[in-house]
Symmetry: C2
Subunit: 448 residues, 2 copies
């Protein structure tokens, strides 16, 4: 049996998985509270579909049948299938496949593994979980969803033990308007340059932009714009006005960005900031774009990104605009575990272990356990009728707080093995304290 860690394919311990489940359950709860329906799509798409957006930067894992390969049968190029590298391409295909059965605007959440055939030496995940919410319209999609969506995500992130965060928003139309008003022809080059601001600083960006034919004056204005970071609408308007530029697309974009910031400020103060240097993804988004940073963990980069597409999907006759946000769950959970930001109070779901006096009496212990379970109490039974000390150690190692001792003559007792307190108990009525019913995820002491 091979024992091989495969780099890029993370696996959590039992405790790590409890933390991940807590994250996934919390996200699901908030998404459903806001009326998002769940779907799952198949793990594979046709290669055609995977490459339809020209996403060559996201490497694809192709599938080949082993038994086919062994007979020398390679899959024909036009029948190749590969693992999805995100949940957006599959959503677009799912919408087109099911267009007659869906009701629009279609609000869905989707939590699944995705795969990217990254080169191993990059040390990036090749398998990871994403949690996406998207709203897809049929032909049209009102702007207000570009405000609603980051606020749903802010509420979801608030439910996680990850400390404070900021959602940073920009708008493709603002940057494009500024570029056009400045006479910058290569908007994509401008975006690529600005995207590196945090990494290479203003001088570096100026040099990059110069290579794309963007003058020093133009670069200075772009850099002034990129420094705008505020959750105050007046400050945002003043900052753009100070550039002394104007055209229709800039005005439209600024109105949208101001509406987003002002509405978000009212509904959830401190959650959403305009940040004009956000440029990643501006090449394929058409309106609002979002990134999310954890205040106490800036090195993680954006943990949740997305934006508005005017044409998420199209069947030629009609297009389906969408706005979506995606959390990189595995990277986030990986940090939560490694830091550690949180710990679990125990690794077993059981709140109590019923001891077994001797193997002949296992049936009696099973009946007690069945009664406790019928009352909703997660219950384990000792694996062997070992000495009580050993049975207590079994509970202790799994973090199970209570051990139940059956005693037909004197009456049953239950022991809190943390405090040592042992009291008489009846399995028809005893309840563990509410906080001990299920494993809890608690913040770890942080020295960040």
């Amino acid at each position: 049996m091979a024992r091989t860690k495969l780099s890029g394919f993370p696996e959590w311990s039992v405790e790590g998985r409890l933390i991940e489940l807590h994250v996934l359950d919390s996200l699901r709860h908030v998404f459903e509270l806001h009326g998002f329906s769940n779907i799952e799509t198949r793990a594979v798409e046709t290669l055609d579909s995977l490459l339809s957006k020209g996403e060559t930067s996201k490497e694809v894992y192709l599938l080949e049948r082993l038994q086919g390969l062994e007979k020398g049968e390679h899959t024909d190029k036009d029948r190749r299938i590969g693992l999805h590298f995100d949940l957006t391409v599959p959503l677009a295909r799912y919408v087109l496949d099911n267009v007659n059965d869906l009701h629009f605007p279609f609000k869905r959440y989707q939590i699944q593994k995705v795969w990217r055939g990254e080169r191993p030496q990059e040390g990036r995940f090749r398998e990871f979980t994403q949690a996406d919410i998207d709203i897809v319209g049929n032909g049209a999609l009102p702007f207000h969803f570009e405000v609603d969506l980051p606020l749903v995500m802010a509420e979801a992130l608030s439910s996680l033990p990850i400390g404070p965060f900021k959602i940073l928003a920009n708008n493709r139309k603002v940057v494009q308007g500024v570029c056009e008003a400045l006479g910058v022809g290569d908007v994509d080059a401008a975006l690529r340059g600005l995207d590196k601001l945090d990494k290479i600083g203003p001088e570096g960006v100026t040099e990059e932009l110069a290579e794309a034919g963007i003058s020093g004056d133009q670069a200075r204005t772009l850099l002034t714009m990129a420094q705008i970071h505020t959750d105050d609408v007046a400050e945002l308007r003043d900052g753009i006005d100070a550039l002394e530029l104007s055209n229709d697309i800039l005005r439209e974009g600024l109105d949208e960005l101001c509406a987003l910031i002002s509405d978000a400020h009212e509904r959830m103060p401190g959650a959403v900031f305009a940040d004009l240097k956000i440029a990643r993804g501006l090449d394929y988004y058409t309106g609002s774009v979002y990134e999310t940073v954890l205040t106490e963990h800036p090195s993680l980069g954006s943990i949740c990104s997305g934006g508005r597409y005017d044409s998420l999907a199209s069947d030629g006759k009609r297009s389906y605009p969408g706005v979506g946000l995606s959390i990189g769950v595995s990277r986030l959970v990986s940090r939560m575990i490694a830091q550690p930001m949180v710990t679990a109070t125990r690794t077993s779901p059981a709140a109590v272990v019923v001891a077994v006096m001797n193997e002949e009496d296992r049936g009696h212990s099973n009946r007690i356990a069945a009664t406790l379970r019928s009352r909703g109490i997660p219950t384990d039974v000792a694996p062997t009728a070992a000495k009580f000390g050993k049975q207590i150690r079994y509970a202790d190692r799994l973090g199970i707080p209570f051990v139940w001792f059956p005693d037909a003559s004197e009456g049953d007792t239950v022991k809190d093995i943390r405090s040592g307190d042992q009291v008489e108990a009846d399995c028809e009525t005893w309840m563990p304290p509410a906080e001990d019913m299920h494993p809890r995820i608690a913040s770890a002491t942080q020295e960040d």
Copy 2:
């Protein structure tokens, strides 16, 4: 954008996914109630690991990096990785990888997609979800777990709206003992023959067995054994005694099977039957084996199978025995949807839609929605400020039972759109009836 249904890769509608989520949530609840911890393993294993049990019948999907292939780089034979085809091979590898961090006996449940590169014409799923529970020991694993495990699964299956079922149990040692006492050398051939009893009948089986050198007399005894089907221990002992055969391994196996049937009969009457024709998997299981049939859906075959391995995993020095059961969730859910055995009361998680009088007042509707959500009520807001009839239709199409009408002057009202009843309501205090809080999965009228 390609719109291709890929045969063997099922996808559910929004309602179908709700049904699947209900199944998965129910299974998880019961597994955790019994103290099983959850793990997930990576989707891929080394080819070495996948083939280590000689499982050539389960076809493997290999992964190739597209960008590697395009450069003519095929993965070296000894570095190939493929998608897992079950959750047992990954469990064995996970146990060895984490042996120092796990506590034994290790009780885990695992619910994940698996993939099999079946030939498309067979019409079988190539991607499907399995839900497994296993208990893995370190060096030893007491027999009582072979009784506990099918009863956990019986409780889990009882929680699903799938009608009555029977878990059928046999024991490798009984069949092997009978074969040895009869002088049948090729036990595997005997098992393969008996496994076809339901398909080809006793005459067909006798012919098959004859080809493997098993005489007519031997075949008659094996067929007599295979007809034993009972949840009564006395009847089981009588049936085996009537074969007039005896040896140590037969006695040991019969004692185990009797202990299983008698204990199961006491703890959950009617759930577990001894069925001596159960032979699938007896070639790799070493003790108890299980299959599960739905009384009202026999054509589905076994929906949940498993058994005991004396050596689930081994690191050379030490072996890790295990007992496990696996539900084929996708095939079960596929039948539940197609029949239909069940339907969902609605497709949106929302219990109520807050209407929007006009777009200027959307903020007011958002505030009402936020209040309802803060009280745990899943709430949607109308996508546009259309005429009320259209807003009600939006709710109706998603099956959302209530529409909330904000009215600053006269006071808010909420309408049950099923009955048409409309009453005054305050978003700080109104609650939907408990049965309308979340979508419910209800049995469909069945004509099976």
